[in-house]
């Protein structure tokens, strides 16, 4: 039989199955709940008075005047808009269309504005918008480094639950080394080494001995907590002056850029570690998607056997990239001791590694999106501090929950079904 007629020649046209009409009611329900909370706060438990917002910091050359609003007017406008957006979302869901992400962002910003107005209504101090954001960036630094480490590790096929341990090890070692030597940069380097060491254990057990990656990660976290706490009480605490008082990095103002209102102090009046974040995010993104290293890394995480058949050493690729991930996460740990707090404390990372892991998933294994997610979580973390300064009516214990609630809502509600690297978590057993 000869070659068949041309009509059945397979072409490269993708198979397009019809899309079913599926109504996704999750967004309108979520927005509706928050609109109800809005009504509850702004109408039922409305706090009268005026709220002032301050956008500039003391060091700014251009001072934006303090903005005073009447809380009652804000409540009315915000509540109406919230209900309207929720209604639009419901309409879209009914027409089987997606609620656009920008609409959700507008909703969130409005809710935040209304909430801050409500919380600070009648307070004597203004809401410090700039310092709220500065703090948010600052708190998200370790989250971003951790998330970058997570992205690299998961993209190469190893689930990195040990981010928490890598952060903590980085924080501890950088405090120790920087205090002992008096050199911050040596501390940074030591933090990276500490992260790599934690990664070595993860890599060795999961890649060479095929132990379940999640279990190794969890055990490592507990191990690092135990080890650093023990060394802290026996070594660091008694000799705090010598071993636990690292020199901190100073804030570096970037000329011109740091004078832009709001943006300047938030992004360009930070320590060197924050500037390292900007570089790291870009470099990881570029390398992951534009270079040979990234192509091979992703191929190993998606289909290790296919990578193997084109001559890529799967085990070696995984091992060194998991180590690299550890170095990046360790750098994030150094920020606690060299950038913000200035000394090591027991369990000072307080679950940041797990929030970073959530940022990886919320950011869909993409370095830039994961960074944005980490910034969001950082904002949620900082909100509690900002509110306690204002003297908000919400108990601070309750506000402590907020970042974790945001994490759960973000990952469960907004993300839903996402597809990560196909081979993440699966050991590659070569026959």
């Amino acid at each position: 039989m000869s070659v068949a007629t041309g009509s059945v020649t397979p072409s490269s046209a993708p198979i397009e199955l019809e899309k079913a009409v599926v109504r996704n009611w999750k967004p309108p329900i979520g927005l509706g709940i928050f609109a109800l909370i809005g009504i509850l706060l702004f109408v039922v438990f409305a706090r009268p008075g005026a709220t002032s917002f301050r956008f500039s910091t003391d060091g700014d050359q251009i001072q934006i005047p303090i903005w005073v609003v009447d809380a009652g007017a804000v409540y009315i406008v915000v509540t109406i808009l919230l209900i309207a957006i929720a209604a639009v979302s419901a309409f879209l869901a009914y027409r089987a269309r997606r609620t656009p992400i920008w609409l959700i962002a507008v909703f969130a910003a409005l809710f935040m504005f209304g909430f801050l107005t409500w919380a600070a209504a009648g307070a004597s101090l203004p809401v410090q918008i700039a310092s709220l954001l500065v703090g948010a960036v600052s708190l998200s630094v370790p989250l971003v480094f951790g998330a970058l480490g997570g992205v690299i590790s998961e993209r190469v096929g190893v689930v990195n639950v040990a981010i928490e341990g890598q952060l903590l090890a980085g924080a501890f070692v950088s405090a120790l080394v920087a205090s002992a030597t008096g050199m911050q940069f040596l501390g940074l380097l030591a933090a990276m080494v500490a992260g790599v060491l934690v990664s070595f254990v993860l890599a060795a057990f999961s890649i060479k001995y095929f132990v379940d990656q999640v279990i190794v990660g969890v055990v490592l976290n507990v191990l690092v907590v135990g080890l650093t706490s023990f060394l802290f009480s026996t070594l660091l605490a008694p000799n705090a002056a010598l071993l636990n008082s690292p020199p901190r990095f100073d804030r570096i103002e970037i000329p011109l850029l740091s004078q832009i209102p709001i943006i300047g102090p938030v992004f360009f009046r930070q320590t060197i570690i924050v500037y390292l974040v900007y570089i790291a995010v870009f470099v990881v993104w570029f390398a992951l998607f534009k270079t040979r290293w990234g192509l091979r890394l992703r191929s190993v995480g998606e289909h290790p056997q296919a990578a193997d058949t084109v001559g890529i050493n799967v085990a070696r690729t995984r091992f060194w990239n998991v180590s690299l991930a550890g170095a990046i996460a360790g750098l994030g740990g150094a920020y606690y001791t060299l950038g913000s707090v200035g000394a090591f404390n027991k369990e000072m990372t307080a679950g940041a590694g797990f929030i970073a892991l959530a940022a990886v998933i919320f950011g869909r294994w993409d370095p830039i999106r994961a960074t944005l997610a980490a910034l969001l979580f950082g904002f949620a973390l900082n909100l509690q501090y900002a509110l306690s300064v204002i003297g908000s009516p919400v108990p601070s214990e309750f506000m402590l929950m907020v970042p974790y609630l945001v994490t759960i809502f973000a990952v469960a509600g907004l993300v839903g079904y996402v597809r990560g690297p196909a081979a993440a978590g699966k050991p590659y057993v070569k026959s």
């Binding site: 059945v8 397979p10 998606e302 084109v310 890529i312």
Partner: protein, 506 residues
Amino acid sequence: MKLELRGITKRFGSLVANDHIDLTVEPGEIHCLLGENGAGKSTLMNVLYGLYQADEGEILLNDEVQHFSGPGDAMNAGIGMVHQHFMLIPVFTVAENVMLGHEQTKFGGLLNLDDARAKVREISARFGFDVDPDALVEDLPVGVQQRVEIIKALSRDASVLVFDEPTAVLTPQETDELMAIMRQLKQSGTSIVFITHKLREVREVADRITVIRLGKVVGEASPTDTNEELASLMVGRAVDLMIDKGPAKPGEVALRVEGLSVIDHRNQLVVNNVSFDVREGEVLAIAGVQGNGQTELTEAIVGLQPKVTGSISLGGRSLRGLSVRQTLDAGVGFVPEDRKIDGLVAEMTIAENLMLDRSEGEPFVKAGTLQLKFRSEFAEEKVREFDIRAQGIDTHVGRLSGGNQQKVVLARELSRELRLLVAAQPTRGLDVGSIEFVHTRIVEARDAGVPVIVVSTELDEVVALADRIAVMYRGGIVGIVPGDTPREVLGLMMAGEHPDTAGEAA
């Protein structure tokens, strides 16, 4: 390039997968490696490709001994492979897949994708492929994915190309085109090793044939030999390629499916408005290339799919919305597509697997306690009845051969009072002897008056079993045709042509 394998031996524990195999492939010839599933063909080729290390023997290219410590070495020596399960990264583009492993880079380590795209276009043009370098592999039909595999091998200047069971996923027409490509490659001087167990293909394209059985070369054959001669060489005894099957005596309509649609997790209509019915005592075969909705259709009938619309009724009673338990109790027997994942629990014994679907109550369970004596008697009986070859009923199912595993599944499903049998890919990966057995059992069930649905991607199986054939394509049924419809028409229907026009074209 001339390829020679000398005395290749590969052992896995006590199992000898390849026993001193000699094979010579001359430059520019198509050499068929014929053997049953599990005969050791793929192992041999994985040794050649550096994926396995041989325990004994050597590989020679142009009379020089080679030492491959990994696939990279084999590729550099000029060996390319088109794998049975494509070695492509689904989320990469065609160009990225082709360049992977030997990437060209520009300044700053930037990948030179233009170079890779040009290469894909150049090879596509040479062989008349229509492949877009920027298409994502997962969006491409399997036939095109296979061409990407070929392009990938050729982009590394492969002069020996191994095709490992390449036709398993293709429509008959795509298979013919692949044959034409193989001839074209041969003319350009490439040596080809073609691994298959399908006799028709071997006879059509091979220059020489080497037959492997149980890890040993059992002889050479010529493409002019008959199917029966090749088959008996392959199996080791005379085989009857057609099963004895009398005409069907269809009774009442038993299963009626109307307007059935299944939506998957990506909100795609994987089964799109399908209607058919099956009568008592007839086999309806569902043909089609893998991945056109057959799996989801059978799962919807059994109650394994979450988002289903339309109606399914068996003997007037609606099955839709029932739990799997209720569906089984309604008399549905189900042989799932992948026996190792969905059909059996590998870590449990034969006896345990045989009672898996009856742990609800008597006679296997009384007052929450397993009735071990009854279970043993039952298992012994079924092992005898279905000729399950094992040391005993306490052997773990994971240690059985594919054929015996499938017999366990069949024994379990057929030992209930059935009002419908759904068998998905019932003979995938089985040897000829087991295929005969499974087919005979299915026909017996039909003759006992049970309505049977057989899903198969193998046209041979469809033709052997079907009383009527429904062909699925992209989630829909292209047409339902009589069991004696010519293969050419079925082939065109599998590519989406309507049966009327397909009949004219063939």
